[in-house]
């Protein structure tokens, strides 16, 4: 199987192409085809895993050379696939969660006029994402990086006749572009410094073998790492390039689940994990990652608290969880970050699909104010949502608890007390906002405007599958140091040593569980019990709620400071420079000739005598010329 690892991205690509051209004729079967291909790809990925673990621990690295891509002088880039524990983990997540979401989409997108096109885009996305995680060099990774950005644009704006969707797609693309540009510069610098873009040449662990190339000055590493991180910031929706993610919820819910929860946004985490050696050489870069991750985690959690829209609340939750992943990366707990990534893929995917189920049942409604008491009409969905909510809140023994607890443990025991406190506050807020969503949507009074109904089995089965992963995924990583996933990833990501400082592990675990339960309790108190009139409470703190709902008005600031001048500049260039200067110059040339001609035509008086005079003038001149020449 290792030799045929190229099949894993190739199958979705084939599906994309087939559905692009024959999607309309396939009708319902387009969805089945796309999902089947993903399932097969997942099976193949399992096969690759099986083959990989047959190899001894230290030698789990296989590079499959596909073809020579670019060969210009000393610049050589090949289309190579890298199979190692990290890429296999990501590959399994993408194909596994992707397959489930594809199946779900068969039910969700039923009846959409561009059904086949949807699945074509989804398969194409999976192809690019797999390319991204399987790439063996920076440029190939960048191909996947850009490709997922493209598919994100296509899928967010899938219902392009909705102005908000089209605008959201454009915004997503432009904002991530900013990050991508910095990343590209970083890649160029990598080549300049190392003379190659191949991972095997660039990402060498210098603590074990001597690498003559990795020598001071370390300033270059900082710059490279920060530039690559900039790309991650854009793609993974961290501060300050996070503004596109909440708006991206305009796209169909399966898209939100796949791209904006499980896979694309995790590309940034993958990138930092893959290139962590560069970050480690420069201490500054890791600190930046840590700080940004932590701040984003807390900030997004507060914003999630103020959302009235179910999907936007989940979007901010995603941003917050991604922040935790980067926080973990900044703490050098790379495997823990990856574990959270895997767990998050399950439970956030579950949450989004449940939200989609709710929307499906209510005819597209996402306003929490128009939900309530849905557990009676949609019991299964409510239960699934509940599982996901418990996972996000960090209640043991679900996967989310293990993932988050590990990270906070590493933080505390490595001596970052303030960071640990902030992370704890974030955990409390996470529990609070998710229970708020749960109670407002599923418990309490029925505020719906339509009769809700449960979703078809195609969708509920997918929910169930993801719920299993969310609930029992903790097995993979029971602890930061000894978890199975962590051990599996150790050859690539290094080992995490036991921290020596801070509080004992047990105490920390108890504290985090208490924080989670406290959040749930407060949530139930305010929103679920009926003892507190949360409507009045909300009206009293309306300003605060609006502040949070608008994401601390960051987006509005951007709009005023960046977008408005940009638009004004473009307007100026179009109406003044283009119309007056450039068009004026071009038209002016034409008018110059016109005026010259209209003056020149007055020579044609039509009078013979004038023409005769002209003759005579010419004759005299010629005579003079000849006379002068001959004399």
């Amino acid at each position: 199987m290792l030799r045929s690892v190229w099949l894993v991205p190739a199958l979705p690509l084939a599906g994309a192409v087939i559905n692009l051209f024959a999607g309309r004729r396939l009708g319902r079967w387009a969805g089945v085809l796309a999902s089947a291909l993903m399932v097969v790809a997942f099976a193949l990925a399992l096969g690759v895993l099986a083959d990989l673990v047959k190899l001894p621990g230290d030698e789990r690295l296989v590079v499959r050379h596909l073809w020579d891509w670019i060969s210009v002088g000393s610049f050589r880039v090949a289309a190579d696939l890298r199979v190692d524990p990290l890429s296999v983990t990501m590959m399994l997540v993408v194909t596994g969660v992707g397959a489930v979401i594809h199946v779900y989409s068969i039910g969700y997108m039923h009846g959409d006029p561009r059904f086949g096109r949807f699945f074509s885009y989804m398969n194409l996305f999976c192809f690019f994402m797999l390319t991204l995680v399987l790439a063996q060099n920076f440029l190939f990774l960048y191909v996947g990086w850009e490709g997922v950005g493209l598919c994100s644009y296509l899928l967010i704006g899938f219902w392009f006749d909705r102005p908000r969707a089209a605008s959201a797609a454009k915004k997503a693309f432009v904002v991530t572009r900013i990050g991508d540009t910095f990343m590209l510069i970083g890649i160029v610098l990598v080549f300049l410094r190392f003379g190659s873009l191949d991972f095997s040449r660039v990402l060498i662990d210098c603590s074990r073998i001597p690498c003559p190339l990795h020598v001071p000055p370390t300033g270059v590493y900082t710059i490279i790492a920060l530039l690559l991180f900039a790309g991650a910031v854009g793609k993974s929706g961290q501060i300050p390039l996070h503004t596109w993610l909440p708006d991206a919820m305009e796209g169909p819910t399966p898209v939100s689940a796949l791209i904006h929860a499980a896979t694309m946004v995790t590309a940034g985490v993958y990138l930092v994990a893959r290139t962590h050696l560069l970050f480690e050489i420069s201490g500054v870069a890791l600190t930046v990652v840590l700080v940004i991750g932590l701040l984003t985690a807390v900030y997004a959690a507060t914003c999630a608290l103020g959302q009235d829209d179910l999907k936007r609340g989940l979007a901010y939750s995603t941003i917050s969880q991604l922040g935790y992943m980067f926080f973990a990366l900044g703490l050098k707990a790379y495997a823990a970050a990856l574990f959270l990534l895997v767990a998050h893929a399950f439970y956030k995917g579950l949450m989004f699909l449940s939200a989609g189920s709710v929307m499906h049942g209510l005819g597209g409604e996402t306003d929490l104010g128009k939900m309530g008491g849905l557990r009676r009409a949609m019991p299964f969905t409510a239960a699934m949502f509940g599982v996901g909510a418990l996972a996000i809140a960090g209640v043991p023994p679900l996967s989310g608890y293990f993932a988050k607890d590990q990270i906070m443990e590493v933080a505390n025991q490595s001596g970052y007390v303030v960071a640990w406190l902030l992370a704890l506050a974030g955990a409390f807020l996470s529990a609070l906002y998710i229970s708020r969503l749960m109670f407002l949507a599923f418990l309490g009074q029925d505020r719906t405007e339509r009769r809700a109904h449960e979703s078809p089995p195609v969708m509920t089965i997918s929910l169930a599958l993801l719920a299993v992963g969310a609930a029992f995924g903790g097995i993979l990583g029971l602890s930061a140091t000894t978890g199975r996933l962590h051990a599996f990833l150790a050859p690539v990501l290094g080992e995490v040593t036991e921290g020596t400082g801070g509080l004992p592990t047990v105490v920390l675990s108890v504290i985090s569980v208490l924080a989670a339960l406290a959040g749930i309790a407060v949530g139930w108190l305010v929103y679920g019990s009926g003892w507190v009139d949360w409507v009045a409470l909300r009206a009293r703190f309306a300003g605060v709620q609006r502040f949070l709902a608008h994401g601390w008005y960051v987006d509005d600031v951007y709009s005023a400071v960046l977008v408005a001048p940009g638009k004004a500049g473009a307007e100026f260039l179009a109406s003044v420079v283009d119309r007056r200067v450039i068009d004026g110059a071009v038209n002016g040339v034409g008018q110059l000739f016109q005026r010259a001609a209209s003056r020149g035509r007055r020579l044609q008086t039509g009078l013979v005598r004038n023409y005769g005079l002209a003759f005579l003038v010419g004759v005299v001149l010629i005579f003079v010329y000849v006379g002068v020449r001959l004399s």
Binding site: L607, R609, N610, L613, L616, V619, V620, F623, G627
Partner: protein
């Protein structure tokens, strides 16, 4: 003073004078008459220059046929009315006069420079006009210039036909004001 010098200095002023007079006449018939005088003086010059055949031809063809044709047309069209002296084109007159004078001056200078005071061969009549001018001319004409001779005869036929076509009267049977054929 030899005979030719006297002839030259008598007829040259007449020639120039009649030409200038032709220029100034407001009546077209008067202008034509002055031109005829000019042609006569030119004929005399041909004679002096040893071309008695051209002398005869000039008088018969030019003064006798062409100018008569002119007079016919003038009188036919009735354009012997007085022409107005007002010049409507700005600068036409001064410019024409200046340039005309310039032209003459240039040729004067060129002639002086190249020809000087050359006179030509002394025994022109005996060496060139052997057997009389007409006979000598015919030798040259019908041998060396035979093709141009025939071509000009065609030219004359063409001209005659052209004149007939161009001057055709419009068919009187046609409605007034309507053009019939190319007339």
């Amino acid at each position: 003073m030899t005979a030719d010098q006297i002839v030259f200095w008598v007829f040259a002023p007449i020639s120039v004078g009649s030409a200038v007079a032709m220029l100034f006449q407001r009546n077209a018939i008067h202008a034509a008459l002055f031109l005829i005088v000019n042609f006569f003086t030119l004929a005399v010059f041909y004679l002096v220059l040893g071309a008695p055949f051209l002398f005869a031809v000039q008088i018969i063809v030019y003064a006798g046929a062409i100018m008569v044709l002119f007079l016919f047309v003038i009188m036919l069209l009735g354009v012997d009315r007085e022409e107005s002296l007002v010049e409507r084109l700005r600068g036409q007159r001064p410019l024409a006069i200046v340039l005309g004078l310039g032209l003459a001056a240039e040729i004067f200078v060129a002639a002086r420079a190249s020809l000087g005071l050359a006179r030509g061969p002394v025994n022109f009549d005996r060496t060139v006009n052997v057997g009389g001018n007409a006979q000598a001319l015919s030798h040259v004409l019908f041998r060396d210039y035979f093709l141009p001779f025939e071509v000009t005869s065609i030219l004359l036929i063409v001209a005659a036909i052209a004149a007939m076509v161009l001057a055709q009267r419009e068919r009187t049977a046609a409605e007034p004001g309507r053009e019939v054929e190319a007339t």
